[in-house]
Symmetry: none
Subunit: 259 residues, 2 copies
DNA sequence: ATGATGCAGTTGTCAGACAAGCTGTCAAGC
DNA sequence: GCTTGACAGCTTGTCTGACAACTGCATCAT
């Protein structure tokens, strides 16, 4: 089996790309798909190892390792002498907030409201607890966003990084944990990026965003929690309005002409 | 892949006891334990297959199948030629907010802060969006809590139900979803119930709680979002103080005498 | 000091063999 | 006719040996 020629780093980094292209992983995935798609019903039996070996053109070892993976997933239960049976157990615990349809406006807005609840409070706590270094980092992120805006580049990631820095400044890791869990679901990147790269950013819009960011950073710097919360609320409300507009236009190109 | 054999055995029931006593399952469990207990650090390498074969007294096939299970768990990443490395990924998809130690005060408080962020905003949205029926339900829950308090019974569940009703009144299911996900982790029931059942509830404390609940319910009823948020903030801040006291006493029975 | 090469050790896959267990069929007994 | 036991065929579980592909490190040449 050939792998790509690129040499991996000598030490494993947490962000090292996963390499799951082995045969057993592939067979496991195919079987997993067959099970989850209902081709094999719950309680039903997979083909025998010998049959899978033949039909997938791999050795029995590969088939067995694939089945071992499915066993760990809780998808199958092998019974010696009898066969490998699909169990009634669903794959893993339910992921939170899964039922998000990025193309449904209300779905995304609902998640945004939840996220904003956390971010408003985070701003208040950040004002009370931030360290000087965290204070500085917040301003730095504001500057990065402003630069990206002037260049007409996408600010989605930089904006998110600012919010994460504010969450860090609460010195309660649960806030970052929450935002990381939720962040990618709350803003469908495709829609936003398409709109952002496709049009000129008005300079009054730039100034508005800058002013809002500055108001938040200043309130946090002054350690005024109420002002920080209010500044964040204004920013997010404005962002929500902007986001609604973006989404409406992305979903319905004729929307603006009808306004 | 051929048509799978779908003839179920007559003896398979969803509640059939699992038979997982195979060697590979055993080795997988031992390795899993070693990894989760930190014997092998994250980023560290498991012993080679040959070494595991020797140390566990099993064939290499068994070791490989065990490793396949761990791979499915996301605990390890085998790298051909290099070894099997413990990944930074926790078992399965990350469960949110898992690292909660109920006996560590700061751990619970951190989660409470996150929860309170959501609840404060929920109160504001509930004021804007509640239906008359939801309005009534909130008052009813207040009455239930008051009754339970007068009887000296535990109000933990009734209190949580009130907060869920407020979340429902936002008419954004994400708020309830969040609270349900987080609710049981945020208040360690053992500690709170022990303290609650063990002492007399002062009547001024009762009145304070009642007043706070009423202020929230009234603001929501009047559809004043800012007042609702502020009332909820006061209630939760007071509750946080009370909770800190409870926890400190539960952890250190001599705490009150030293105050 | 740097780059290339070789080698020992590692994982990935294949094949064959035997053990343990399950299922279905058939015959014997009641 | 129904139940029970025996048996054959098939299945999974484990072991063993072999080779391919890959990695990491030591050594050597420039």
């Amino acid at each position: 089996m050939k792998t790509p020629e690129t040499k991996p780093p000598p030490s494993l980094a947490p962000t090292a790309p996963a390499r799951r292209s082995g045969l057993s992983a592939r067979v496991a995935e195919e079987l997993r798909r067959a099970i989850l798609s209902g081709v094999v019903p719950i309680g039903g039996k997979l083909p025998s190892e010998a049959a899978l070996t033949a039909s997938h053109g791999v050795s029995r070892t590969v088939v067995r390792e694939a089945i071992a993976e499915l066993r760990a997933d809780g998808l199958v239960e092998p019974r010696q002498g009898a066969g490998v049976f699909v169990t009634a157990i669903a794959a893993g615990p339910p992921q939170p907030f899964q039922s998000v349809d990025p193309m449904r406006l209300s779905s995304a807005i609902e998640l945004l409201e939840l996220r904003y609840a956390v971010e408003i409070e985070a701003a208040g706590l950040a004002a009370l607890r931030r360290s000087p270094a965290q204070d500085e980092a917040i301003f730095e992120h504001c500057a990065v966003i402003e630069r990206l805006m002037r260049e007409g580049a996408s600010t989605v990631e930089a904006d998110f990084a600012l919010h994460l820095t504010i969450a860090d400044a609460t010195n309660n890791m649960r806030f970052r944990e929450f935002l990381e869990m939720l962040g990618e679901k709350a803003i469908p990147r495709r829609a936003v990026q398409r709109s952002e790269s496709g049009e000129e950013t008005p300079s009054d819009y730039l100034r508005q965003i800058q002013a809002e960011h500055r108001a938040i950073a200043d309130a946090i710097s002054r350690q005024e929690d109420e002002a920080a919360r209010e500044a964040m609320r204004i920013h997010l409300k404005g962002g929500q309005m902007r986001y609604r507009k973006l989404l409406r236009k992305a979903l319905d190109p004729t929307y603006q002409t009808s306004c």
